[in-house]
Symmetry: C2
Subunit: 151 residues, 2 copies
């Protein structure tokens, strides 16, 4: 049993601020997307990732890792998006097991319509409130912990 390493004031303040802010922002984003387009945040992230991907398509597992949700959650959400006509499933040519999620034209149009309002929220509460230095510091810091979490 090793000694417990508590957090000092600086560390605790940083952790608490990070935690509260991420939760509050998540809620605000969810609210905006729901009102503007009837989308959840994971659904929106799926559309974004697919739009950025070559051929506007991605394997299910790869997509799940990118969006950071479980495989079953992605299966569920892709089914929802398929019903809405924003995404289609295609069989993977190189792997018989594989499934490709493909962004439809409607999906692309939906994303283009929704993105501005979404970015407005990201700006209003986060990006526009941080200095250039703060943005850069956050990027390097977050990437360092992201890398550790993905290994």
């Amino acid at each position: 049993m090793t000694q417990t390493r508590w957090l000092d004031a600086t560390e605790m303040a940083a952790w608490r601020a990070f935690l509260s802010t991420s939760h509050l922002l998540e809620r605000r984003i969810e609210e905006q997307l729901k009102a503007a387009a009837g989308l959840t945040h994971p659904q929106y992230e799926i559309l974004v990732r697919l739009a950025d991907a070559p051929g506007r398509q991605m394997r299910m597992t790869e997509l799940a890792k990118g969006v950071v949700v479980s495989k079953s959650a992605l299966t569920y959400q892709i089914t929802q998006l398929e019903k809405a006509g924003l995404v289609e499933r295609a069989t993977c040519p190189s792997d018989e097991r594989g499934v490709l999620a493909v962004l439809t034209d409607d999906g692309m149009r939906c994303l283009e319509r929704v993105a501005p309002g979404h970015l407005e929220v990201v700006r209003a509460y986060l990006v526009d409130r941080l200095t250039r230095d703060e943005l850069e510091t956050m990027t390097t810091a977050m990437r360092r912990t992201e890398q550790a979490l993905r290994r």
Copy 2:
């Protein structure tokens, strides 16, 4: 219709890194707490807030705002924690409608037992990977957006 203000490379990098990291860390924390104590992250946060509060008790609404969950989610979780004997409900003396969530001795012991392992995760992936400067920068930046989100 105002012009859409897209995010430039620096802004996008910061936002993406923040988003992915917060989700990954959330998942890792959830996993650790579940394995170590059968607790969810919101449940753990409830215990922490109550332990810090005067008299180890808090009003439901105040607690919900602190933990950043809906009122109904808190009602559900307090019921769960009550079944586990970690929290009790008490009527509020000053307000007939009010309900006080009170941390029991068992709840306090549970928290003391679980906290070290939890903090180990927070350290391993976030706090110990950031410099003092980065921690302080993050605190001021996060607090600024938190304040905006809470108004």
